[in-house]
Subunit: 169 residues, 2 copies
């Protein structure tokens, strides 16, 4: 009877395969720019808001404070970002694109544009908006689970409601 769990495992695997493919394509597209796909994520987060604290960057890139710092050190060494003392909070650092970073990210946008075009086309059967909503829902649901394992057998604690913006579909 095709247990629903099987379908859900397919969903998880699809998510994985799709993301990894996107990640590799982005990496390949960015070779000429001398940055990784993950570094591009950080840079593009900085491209909008003028200056962000590392904490804000951690939230926006869903990465780890320690991981982010390592990435920023690399990006700083490449001369793409600057970290200055935060004006009002002396614990914090104010991170922003350098002049060169602003110039380079334009090239990165151009270099990765074909990848996004493919992505949009591939997602076409579903409205991008509803797809984004669902993926955001997934991220949110994954984020709200207790981080502790709790491998207490095959219990399936019916997940409580989420943002569930039921606009798409």
């Amino acid at each position: 009877m095709q247990t629903p769990a099987a379908h859900t495992h397919d969903l998880a695997m699809s998510l994985r395969v799709a993301y990894l493919a996107l990640h590799r394509r982005t990496d390949a597209a960015l070779t000429g720019c001398d940055v990784t796909a993950d570094q591009f994520v950080v840079l593009s987060a900085l491209a909008r808001g003028d200056a962000l604290t590392q904490r804000e960057l951690v939230d926006r890139t869903s990465s780890d404070p320690s991981t982010l710092r390592a990435m920023l050190v690399l990006l700083e060494a490449k001369g793409l970002v600057e970290r200055q003392p935060h004006p009002s909070d002396r614990r914090a650092r104010s991170v922003r694109l350098s002049r060169r970073g602003r110039r380079e990210i334009e090239r990165m946008w151009a270099a990765t544009e074909p990848v996004r075009a493919h992505l949009a086309h591939a997602a076409a059967p579903l409205e991008v908006t509803s797809l984004v909503a669902v993926l955001a829902n997934v991220a949110s649901a994954m984020g709200r689970q207790p981080i502790a394992p709790d491998a207490s057998s095959g219990r399936s604690p019916p997940p409580d409601e989420g943002p569930t913006s039921s606009k798409g579909t």
Copy 2:
């Protein structure tokens, strides 16, 4: 006018955030089993087909021959998989779960079941089937692009058609 590229970047970011969240949850759920989420992917690929060559595993897990080997070495050290000479192709290795691996993966399924439950619930606004189809489309489209960068300015080569199973929507 909200360039469509912006939406597509949102889609890419959503995909990233959703996957990373899933990955972390799975990792957390598996701590008691002493395997990583990526290792679980390999093991679950082995759980169905009795024995696979490393080449087949590479395809099913969308990983790299060299990467996969490193993972298999780790899994072999844990006593979860066995690699034997392939009966008919003497170049190949036949990989399968060990007895202990078969026992352990049952625990892993149980431990990760809540994660899948959350995932299914979060994806509920869209039919899982159509979502899987779209994500497969994405992976396929990403896989069919030329791997060479070609950062020739902001050209947007209109992606050619794909599997585009237009059943969802």
